[in-house]
């Protein structure tokens, strides 16, 4: 329903505890006060202020107060469908106002920041539990009269200001409130906190609207071609870059174009991890799959999962990653350390005995493993250490471990990992001979092998058992029934989900 011009203008603010929703409310109330409009606001902080969702609600008389006239009756609640402006300081919260029916397609202006602060449920589910931003985007388009949406967090960082000041600027520029720009600025000044920062943000918010932030901003990332990325990967590999380019060229000659990027990334990763010979092992395995997979969809997934698996995070890999120059540069940059300012990094490491004897050549490691696994059947002792990797001695300790790559090819760990990879590869090949969807699911099964220490060993054992004890009988049953392989594919998919969820359960 279009608004009744005499009724107060209604503004609903949806924020998260600690995001400055209260201050934003005070600014708007202050601006209305200055412009001579009767105004009322309210909020529901309660326990919600501890990081939960909070809302604020403001009503402003459409005309300035006149002597002798009665003030409007203000409501303490927003009525769904009777809201003029919704301001949301985070994208999921924008969605929540729509979920609760506050916006109406013929009346409501939505001003929202597109950045995300993840909810606890999104953070704790296995895999990718992030709510799809595009769903909110579609709802915004359909359910509001007008939407001004932009990444207010990024804009605030650019303007060295805060999200709420940006949103206030956008509100002022949108022109739906009968309040002049100067009234908002006065309100910010009277607030008295970080006045210059907030004024800068307010101005930046106004400019964004002037520049046409009107349309819903898609959360797009510029796509780059593999040909652009490849030289960067080579450069990052230093002396081994040439070997990489050579191997990549061979792969590109052998495999169709849509596999080049995946294979290239995989090769770069494994050369970085070990060496070119090790990367060739990947190509050999991928070749077998590609032979039975003409369109390459299965091959791509197989190659991707295999590359991640083959670069399993043993103590050498962790030590190597932890002592790289780029890492320390990233840390200095992320923490805004000034040039010359000392930075102390403490790494929390806790390798267990398995990770140590896993590095030994199989012939020596295996008897130790047999003894240790009998001695401590439920998880081996761990070596707890907090290492200062920015001191020379601390760095050396970790760095030297990272130099032990030469041990890897003949190590016990490598043998165990590649034995399991063999079984998996066999299972993918066997499935590919039957059904491509089934094979894709079996290839995807490799994604369960992750984590460290006992967690990883538990998941590896589970995969091994699944391939031997569950998959084969399921396939046999489908074969006997003769009605396709969907049931088997479903069993694989469900088992994968279950394994990841069980892992969650085991430490829930």
């Amino acid at each position: 329903m279009p608004r009744d011009p005499r009724r107060p203008l209604s503004i609903l603010i949806a924020a998260l505890g600690g995001q400055g929703g209260g201050v934003l409310t005070e600014w708007i109330v202050g601006a209305a006060d200055h412009a001579g409009h009767a105004v009322q606001s309210t909020s529901i902080p309660g326990v919600a202020q501890r990081t939960g969702a909070t809302t604020y609600y403001i009503e402003i008389a459409p005309e300035p107060r006149m002597a002798g006239a009665l003030d409007p009756v203000f409501s303490l609640y927003a009525t769904p469908g009777d809201v003029d402006v919704i301001i949301a300081s985070e994208w999921l919260e924008a969605g929540r106002t729509l979920e609760m029916d506050y916006a109406s397609p013929d009346r409501t202006l939505l001003i929202a920041s597109t950045h995300r602060l993840y909810a606890i449920g999104e953070k704790t589910v296995p895999g990718d539990g992030v709510f799809p931003a595009t769903l909110v985007q579609e709802a915004v388009q359909k359910l509001t009269r007008r939407a001004i949406t932009f990444d207010a967090l990024a804009a605030a960082r650019r303007a060295q200001s805060e999200v709420n000041a940006l949103l206030l600027g956008a509100l002022s520029a949108a022109g739906v409130l009968p309040l002049p720009e100067a009234a908002f600025e006065t309100a910010i000044r009277e607030g008295g906190v970080a006045v210059e920062r907030n004024l800068a943000g307010f101005k930046a918010g106004r400019e964004l609207v002037a520049l046409g932030a009107e349309a819903v901003e898609p959360p797009a990332r510029p796509a780059r071609s593999w040909q652009e990325i490849k030289p960067e990967r080579a450069a990052a590999l230093g002396a081994r870059g040439r070997a990489f380019l050579g191997l990549a060229a061979r792969a590109e000659a052998e495999f169709p174009q849509h596999l080049h990027e995946t294979l290239g990334e995989a090769l770069a990763r494994l050369i970085d991890y070990q060496d070119a010979r090790y990367a060739e092992v990947l190509l050999a395995r991928v070749r077998k799959i590609h032979a039975v997979d003409p369109d390459g969809r299965l091959t791509r997934n197989f190659a991707r999962r295999l590359a991640v698996w083959m670069s399993y995070e043993d103590a050498i890999r962790v030590a190597d990653l932890k002592t790289r120059r780029g890492r320390f540069e990233r840390i200095r940059q992320e923490n805004a350390a000034k040039e010359g300012a000392p930075v102390v990094v403490t790494d929390y490491l806790k390798p267990d005995l398995d990770e140590m004897y896993g590095l030994l050549p199989a012939s020596i490691g295996r008897p130790i493993a047999r003894w240790a696994e009998r001695r401590w059947p439920h998880g081996r002792p761990t070596l707890t250490q907090a290492v200062k990797t920015t001191t020379v001695l601390g760095f050396l300790r970790v760095w030297l471990l990272g130099r032990l790559r030469f041990l890897r090819p003949r190590s016990l760990r490598s043998q165990r990992e590649s034995a399991l990879m063999d079984s998996w590869e066999q299972a993918v090949l066997a499935a590919a001979a039957l059904d491509r969807d089934l094979a894709w699911e079996v290839a995807e099964m490799a994604s369960v092998v992750k984590g460290y220490g006992e967690v990883r060993r538990r998941l590896s054992r589970a995969l091994d058992r699944f391939l031997a004890e569950t998959l084969a009988p399921a396939v046999e049953q489908d074969r006997a029934a003769g009605a396709g392989w969907e049931r088997s594919a479903r069993i694989v998919r469900e088992r994968r989900q279950a394994l990841l969820t069980e892992e969650q359960g085991s430490n829930s």
Binding site: M1, E265, R325, F328, A341, F395
Partner: protein, 699 residues
């Protein structure tokens, strides 16, 4: 304290005709001062926690100079008993607490107070935490007013009317000798508007003008045979006097309307919602002139039969808008109409939702149904889109339950408890009221019962001897001093209960906004008083007592495991002691800023995660749940699940590293300390280190 009202409090000194801008609680406080109040007190709880903050901030500049005493009441029971001063002496007093729970705690003193009767006005500002966003059990304060014969005011929420009803609350209390409750809903407490002030009145009896002789009157003691007389007085004198006062002072409001056959009777607090809904359906204008007559009850108990009957006279149908159950007002009005043989149809819970908050959509639907015709069409015009949002978003959005703040010292205790249960098997956990109740939510999901403030340990009394493992109870310092000391610890020791009690001592009543409690070291007024939980517990005869630094998770874990497995019987108490991080940051941040400006050496700790080491299994999140521990897109082109990430809001409490060790998580976590103003030697050393490391990295 979470919020300082130092600036707002200045407005409390405003005089006749001046305009105050601020929140509902400020209007209430101004009303108290304009009424000549002698003493105030209360116990914090939303939505009136800030009322106590305002009083605390007003103490030095305003209350003390006027001689008004501020009591940092140890519980609602103590606050209600404070009003005992008004039984014998003509002193006006006001206290505040959260209802229904606070009223429950206060009930004993409140019943006695109501029976004895008061000669000085006695007012309780109850913050009614009811409806969406409420944090407690949903019951009506109204029931207490009925059973104890208290006046119950439910003012129409404007700042002007709140201040007026405080003044009239004292008036009705003195006229009737009954204590009065004034009910403040969440949104009214936080409502911001303006108020035309009057001059403050100095109390006649106060800390500056003291009493000289005690008053003795056996009739005012709650003891037989006085109690029989008191009961008779309630119904023969006090309630009738209250009714007279309501009429003579025009406390209830009639909004006339030309639609003679219809009427609406509404609780004062619901009036703006009702008038807005009437405006939407075209039956009222924007300034509250209505076609349908309304009777606005600023006083919901006692009702004035004559006033109600006058309103009902000649009407065909009347709708009663009364929030919550049971529908006391509706029933009373129906009984009145029946006794007088009126033919009017009285609607209420048959037309409006039975329980739950009367939000606009509920009231709007009821009014449209009650009025029919055009009103239904107008409602349909704004509700056509309802449900589409939910439909378009396919699934309901991820919830945002409240959680421990970044760096909270309570979180590590629950990380340790979770790890301990993983190793020793799960046990019964009796939760309590306070921030620590957030442990019952994701990611900890820990706590089998919540049974009231400070009642956790007592609630485990029968579970402990019947459970195969030692049960664990949780208690905060606020809950300990409120009632956990007696109902919990003393009770458990007396019954030789063999269980584990974890006390989270963070030095404030934090959940309501870091109000002072006996562990803080000072009271609301700023007097230095420190009481020790450890000493108190020892004095009760608990011999197994450990104090841990919760941030040392391995130590806390070992202590919990010891408590769970030791051969020692009886109550085993672990005190996890560390300051509330919000309050700590409030204290430390300005200090750090000052040190930085002064050029002193400052180390800023923060945590980080190596994205290439993190495998994205999220076990860290399930043992932590810190708001600063979040996700980011996986930078790895071959992996797609997001990786863990510590954002800018990290305060470097150290939990991430401690949990990674205690639970043998992944090696992704690291702590960074950026040293500002390191000095010549520090910079030189760092330079040498970087050079040597750089040389190795190039090798």
């Amino acid at each position: 304290m979470e919020r300082s009202f130092a600036a707002e409090v200045k407005q409390l000194a405003l005089g006749e005709g001046q305009i105050l801008h601020g929140e509902g609680i400020l209007a209430i406080t101004k009303g108290l001062l304009q009424s000549g109040v002698s003493y105030v007190g209360g116990y914090p709880g939303a939505p009136v926690s800030h009322l106590l903050d305002v009083l605390a901030d007003a103490n030095e500049p305003l209350l003390e100079p006027m001689g008004v005493y501020l009591d940092a009441s140890a519980s609602e029971a103590a606050a209600a008993a404070l009003l005992g001063a008004s039984i014998n002496y003509p002193m006006r007093g006001a206290v505040t607490w959260k209802s229904i729970v606070g009223t429950n705690v206060a009930a004993d003193a409140l019943s006695n107070l109501a029976s004895a009767g008061v000669i000085g006005g006695a007012l309780v500002v109850v913050g009614d935490d009811y409806g969406a966003g409420a944090s407690i059990i949903q019951e009506r304060t109204h029931a207490f007013a009925l059973k104890s014969s208290l006046c119950l005011l439910d003012p129409r929420p404007t700042l002007q009317n709140l201040a007026r009803m405080v003044e009239e609350g004292f008036g009705i209390s003195e006229a009737s000798n009954l204590p009065a409750l004034i009910s403040l809903r969440i949104r009214a407490a936080h409502m911001r508007g303006s108020l035309v002030c009057k001059n403050n009145r100095r109390p006649a009896i106060s800390m500056r003008d003291r009493l000289t002789r005690p008053s003795f009157d056996y009739a005012r003691l709650c003891h037989p045979p006085s109690t029989y007389l008191q009961e008779a007085r309630k119904f023969e004198q006090r309630l009738p006097s209250a009714r007279r006062y309501i009429v003579e002072h025009g406390l209830n409001e009639v909004i006339p309307g030309e639609e003679r056959g219809l009427g609406i009777i509404v609780q004062g607090g619901l009036t703006p919602t009702a008038l807005r809904a009437l405006a939407i359906v075209g039956a009222a204008d924007e300034v509250g002139r209505s076609r349908i007559p309304l009777l606005v009850l600023n006083v919901v108990h006692p009702l004035v039969p004559e006033q109600v009957l006058d309103f009902l006279a000649g009407k065909e149908r009347v709708l009663v808008l009364e929030e919550g159950m049971p529908a006391f007002i509706e029933q009373e009005i129906k009984a009145l109409a029946y006794e007088r043989g009126l033919g009017v149809g009285i609607h209420g819970k048959d037309t409006v939702a039975v329980q739950g908050e009367y939000v606009p959509e509920v009231v709007l639907a009821a009014l449209a149904r009650f009025l029919g015709g055009e009103a239904e069409h107008r409602r349909a015009a704004i509700t056509g889109h309802l449900g589409r949002g939910r439909e378009m978003l396919h699934a309901s959005l991820p919830k945002r339950p409240p959680a421990f703040c970044t760096g909270c010292p309570e979180r590590p205790v629950f990380s340790a408890l979770k790890i301990a249960q993983r190793e020793l098997g799960e046990t019964h956990v009796a939760a309590d009221i306070g921030c620590h109740a957030f442990a019952t939510l994701p990611p900890f999901n820990m706590g089998n019962t919540i049974l009231g403030y400070g009642m956790g340990l007592a609630s485990a009394s029968a579970v402990a001897p019947a459970f195969g493992k030692r049960v664990v109870s949780i208690l905060g310092d606020g809950g300990f001093w409120h009632s956990g000391l007696t109902a919990g610890v003393a009770n458990a020791v007396y019954n030789t209960q063999d269980s584990v009690l974890v006390i989270l001592e963070n030095f404030y009543t934090s959940a309501t906004g870091q109000q002072a409690n006996p562990s803080t070291g000072k009271n609301f007024r700023g007097d230095a008083v420190r009481m020790s939980i450890a000493d108190t517990i020892k004095s009760l005869g608990v011999s197994w007592l450990r104090v841990v630094n919760p941030y040392k998770v391995a130590e806390t874990l070992a202590t919990i495991k010891e408590a769970m497995t030791t051969a020692a019987g009886g109550l085993k108490v672990i005190i996890a002691r560390a300051e509330c991080q919000l309050e700590r940051q409030r204290r430390v941040k300005p200090q750090v800023a000052a040190q930085l400006t002064a050029g002193a050496r400052v180390e800023t700790p923060r945590f980080g995660i190596d994205p290439d080491v993190c495998t994205g299994d999220k076990s860290c999140m399930r043992l932590n749940g810190c708001p600063s521990l979040t996700l980011k897109e996986n930078p790895d082109p071959l992996r797609d699940d997001p990786v863990a990430h510590v954002d800018q809001t990290c305060v470097g409490c150290g939990l991430c590293g401690e949990v990674a060790h205690a639970a043998s998580l992944c090696p992704s976590f690291y702590e960074v300390r950026v040293v500002s103003n390191a000095g010549v030697w520090g910079r030189a050393m760092a330079g040498v280190r970087r050079r040597v490391i750089g040389w190795l990295q190039a090798a």
